[in-house]
Subunit: 755 residues, 2 copies
Amino acid sequence: MASLQDIGVSAAINLLSALAFLVAFGLLRLQPINDRVYFPKWYLKGIRGSPRRSGHVGNVVNLDFNMYMRFLNWMPAALKMPEPELIEHAGLDSAVFVRIYLLGLKIFVPITFLAFAVLVPVNWTGDTLERVKGLTYSDIDKLSISNIPPGSKRFWVHLGMFYIFSFWTYYILYKEYKIIASMRLRFLASQKRRPDQFTVLLRNVPLDPDESVSEHIEHFFCVNHPDHYLSHQLVYNANYLAKLVEKKKSVQNWLVYYENKYERNPNERPTTKTGFWGLWGSKVDAIDHYTAEVEKLSKEEDIEREKVVSDPNAIIPAAFVSFKTRWGAAVCAQTQQSSNPTIWLTEWAPEPRDIFWDNLAIPYVKLAVRRLLMAVALFLLTFFFMIPIAFVQSLANIEGIMKVFPFLKPIIEKKVIKSVIQGFLPGIALKIFLILLPKILMTMSQIEGFTSLSALDRRSAEKYHLFILVNVFLGSVVTGTAFQQLKKFVDEPSTEFAKTVGDSIPMKATFFITYVMVDGWAGIAAEILRLVPLAMFHLKNTFLVKTDQDRDQAMDPGCVEFAISEPRIQLYILLGFVYSVVTPILLPFIIVFFAFSYLVYRHQIINVYNQKYESGAAFWPHVHRRVIIGLLISQLLLMGLFSMRDAEKSSAVLVALPILTIWVHKFCQGRFESAFVKFPLQDAMVKDTLERATEPNLDLKAYLKDAYVHPVFKDNSMDPTALIDDEESNPLVPTKRNSQRSSKFPSEESSDSDG
Amino acid sequence: MASLQDIGVSAAINLLSALAFLVAFGLLRLQPINDRVYFPKWYLKGIRGSPRRSGHVGNVVNLDFNMYMRFLNWMPAALKMPEPELIEHAGLDSAVFVRIYLLGLKIFVPITFLAFAVLVPVNWTGDTLERVKGLTYSDIDKLSISNIPPGSKRFWVHLGMFYIFSFWTYYILYKEYKIIASMRLRFLASQKRRPDQFTVLLRNVPLDPDESVSEHIEHFFCVNHPDHYLSHQLVYNANYLAKLVEKKKSVQNWLVYYENKYERNPNERPTTKTGFWGLWGSKVDAIDHYTAEVEKLSKEEDIEREKVVSDPNAIIPAAFVSFKTRWGAAVCAQTQQSSNPTIWLTEWAPEPRDIFWDNLAIPYVKLAVRRLLMAVALFLLTFFFMIPIAFVQSLANIEGIMKVFPFLKPIIEKKVIKSVIQGFLPGIALKIFLILLPKILMTMSQIEGFTSLSALDRRSAEKYHLFILVNVFLGSVVTGTAFQQLKKFVDEPSTEFAKTVGDSIPMKATFFITYVMVDGWAGIAAEILRLVPLAMFHLKNTFLVKTDQDRDQAMDPGCVEFAISEPRIQLYILLGFVYSVVTPILLPFIIVFFAFSYLVYRHQIINVYNQKYESGAAFWPHVHRRVIIGLLISQLLLMGLFSMRDAEKSSAVLVALPILTIWVHKFCQGRFESAFVKFPLQDAMVKDTLERATEPNLDLKAYLKDAYVHPVFKDNSMDPTALIDDEESNPLVPTKRNSQRSSKFPSEESSDSDG
């Protein structure tokens, strides 16, 4: 077991490495050549044109050394932007996402102070470990609950503190839910006119032998929503077309690459091979080949485009139905249309860029079967994922490699390389799996048939949370694979399981402290450095970019990866709850993580990330629920822990807590959840009335005409900014504010002070 | 353990006693004096005036012996009425209620045949019990799974059969859900105009300092439902007034009683005492006293009535809001009105007689707290109800009684009486508790704040089901109190618990066979005899009745006690599932129960029960869910049983079943449940359009004016038939059908054949 000193050393190392990342970030960020990597958001907004060239700032490398002195300047800058402006700038989703870190701080800062003021002294003077001779123990154990003798009256202090912690958490959770619900309502109310306010997504239109889908929809809504129905937009099955467009784009990239190559070196016509990835096949002139390829694909695309529009079979039984008023749309989205609840399904239309087009035409029975299969698959994946990996590992040994690639034999047989491979190979399959995992989970969610990207993200986060809970948290506390845990859980009494897990928790404190530092601190520092986008940008910039527009396309701003980040936050919150009374020394590490993450992500959403969609913080009920789950787990484990230490009475007193937690959840859910799933008629009516008064001559039909057309029909150039229609139509940044904001814009600030 | 012969004897006894009940019923039913006890439904419908006096049939006693010969004639008569007519006659609720028994038959008749064809031979030739010497076993055990040697390959037969049984049940459940959903939709579509089609129940109206509740409601709906809002009906807090009316009625009953007494014996003015129950206090002239009392109460009632109507504080923040069209009401009931989901709550208005007026004004927070408290109370009641009963039992011993009532000492000390009391007393507290239990559960549901009688019934049924499951089923299988089971469940691994329970199941077969006969068969036979209403009617008839109208009021037709009967049916269904592969010999007993119950209840709803309300079979999703729960329990127990008999492999193969069961439930729920909770706009529109075409000049406002007035304001005479407004407004039985129906009307038939 590690001593306080060991932890200190480890913390120092991790702090230093994080600092190194930050220094690297500080240096790279100031180079104009990296401007599009570290400030893409501003380019997307059209505020920043190209790297500024004032003072000593060169085009490629920044030579102003004053600026290097203040390489941490971005931190206060990230905090400066006030929240309303942040919402306007980066969307409510992003603003609420960083509030999750704030939630962590709000919960754990007071808890940490209390724990250090009360529990640490109580534990320190417990004296159990010192009395038992011959026992090796560390200072950390002296600060933890292990230092309290079994059956001691001191457990009542822990018990009381845990009640206080729980109630504090309830309070914060309730308040935060309230704040975010009102933020969402204000956001929705203040929004300008948007197509999704007037539109519902209609699915499972029944087939009619006498009418086309379009006629059928029109007749149905003219009859059943006579005063409100306006128009509808059919959905075409353009999945193949979208693939063609995608392929053409990649071929075009190659064409540009070879043209650039030829430009730089006009003496030699570049060549390529026609086979797979240009690795084999006959040699041809690259520019001619790709020009021909592009032409061929263009033709194919036109034919397919024609076919999709004219073929009645390409129309899928779904549509976007628009109404004359927001009230009409709100009514249609919330009511049942037909007595058969599996046809004429209506729901709020996601905003156009949030739609996942592939899933719009899945009938009810198929959907039910898919959900069942995916539930089983998730169970197997969570508990048995080690089996295929172990299989791959058994194959991927040195002998196997030598058999398949005999020509590598001389290299592999060198001793150094051999030992490296042997030490490395077994881990690599697992590592690849863990990197692929979010993608696998996303694919599973896609198979389940959700129709919007935001819903897919929320669903994947749920799956990832389960995986982390079982394989990282429980997997670390209970030794053995998830499958062995499962067996243990089934074979042991449920109380016994809680007891064994609860008992081993204090011993794992140092492990989790290290985990927080390595995975948390270093992970966040790597996030801000953006190594992969940095490399990709410079590669593209070198080989593909000709015009400024190309350069904009080469940017990869990325976005908030809710499905990956949120479950990890939940793990830290869970750790915080569990160790708040067991080993309070862990709490500061978590606080540092939350504070640092808050800073970094606030910086990233201001300067880097682009919004894929705007769901209006629809994920908050999920965040709330998972915090509640974390609290519940910690309460159950603590009951187990107490009853292992002959404090059965205290354990019994804890019984009320889980019940209370569930009740708090239900209460908050009933009080606030509907703000996230329904759109009240009163608000719709207010906006309708206002609009009728201010714009009596609005041609809504024209406004909605192309809002819900499949992106491949909309815009051949696939300009990403064109999709952000609401921002386009009303420029977000008026002139006056613009100057305010630029002062908060870090590198501009430094160059200002310079010029 | 009982042998087949023992069971046979027991069955014969129970059959004879059931037969005795039926003979008694056959005899009593034919006496004209009992006509209002056994055929009240027809009186309520106004079809039957007073007992017929044709042929040999006298006024009081029936002397026609031919009719006695055919005392079982009611049975085919009960089955004759076709279902559509039954729905028209007794309502959809009753018609669907008897279908629960039919569901039992549909599930278990094929299962029984299969089990006897396959499993009984397999078990019989198992030969285990014969080989083990010195083991006492009975024939029943030879027919059960106990006769299969551990680890035998024969278990695969049981396994396969259980899969077949489960799939058969899925199929029947799905089909039945589908049938009943379409029955409900057809019923709702065919209904005549009813106030609840146009009305939503509005709750939690926020207080406004500037407006009265009525103005506030009017303004809100005029703004937010401008095209559809028609009017609203305020709700007054008339609970005290209702109590006064109730009290006046009882005093009036006493007045009538003494007047009758005086009429029969004009020489003596009856006297009474003014104190509690007329037991002590000063002696007064009874008629004068009660006349004065009635007058006093009438005055008090008038004052209170005045006060309620004029006092603004008597208006509670709830109302019935009516709309111009069914479409408008359907929209309002299904949407959220305000961004705060705890105010302006709208839901479908229950029909007027279904409303539980006391609960209309409970704010959200209070409701949440009440639900929490009741959940805890239900848990305690289910698992610890024995503690207070044991306490009462310890008090209610002979010494205790002698201390409190010393004057009883000489009687009690007689040996015979003493032993009777000693044998009787301990059981009596438990018996009283069990009789009171449904009432206790109903009170708990009322505290939870449901606003309609039908919802209260459904909720109470849920509670009672849990109680029966834990205390009757598990309590019989696992010995010990519910609390000990709970401890066992918590302390043992979940698999271990399933194993011990599964293991002891075969041994309890004879107990449950007896239970089915005593509780099931005899209980149903007692149901048809209606001893309590019979006695009550004759008491009232003797002392209170003067006019025919009085006689009608003395009838107590009763109604389908869903909250009590349904959970019991679920117990039998659960027993059927559990023993279908374990001890198939139990199945015929359950089938007899279902068939007999179906017959009896069909007879009762045709001839006896009055409808308290019509919910349109809204309880079916609950019935479906509980059958699914029963199936799940049986599947888990069977897994436990198999793994106890060294058939671990078979046990593992069963794992798929619970998952499938849950999936089937989800599937059916998604497919059909909305038919029971929502009202589709399409159907509303169809009815609206039809009505507009047929009755263009309908004055809807006048029609709805008094529909949702508190019953105490509606009708002073409290005529029960006045509440059945839909039946009143359109006489259910046209002349032609009337004659058809009367031929199915049992005693009329016999008298016809006689005349």
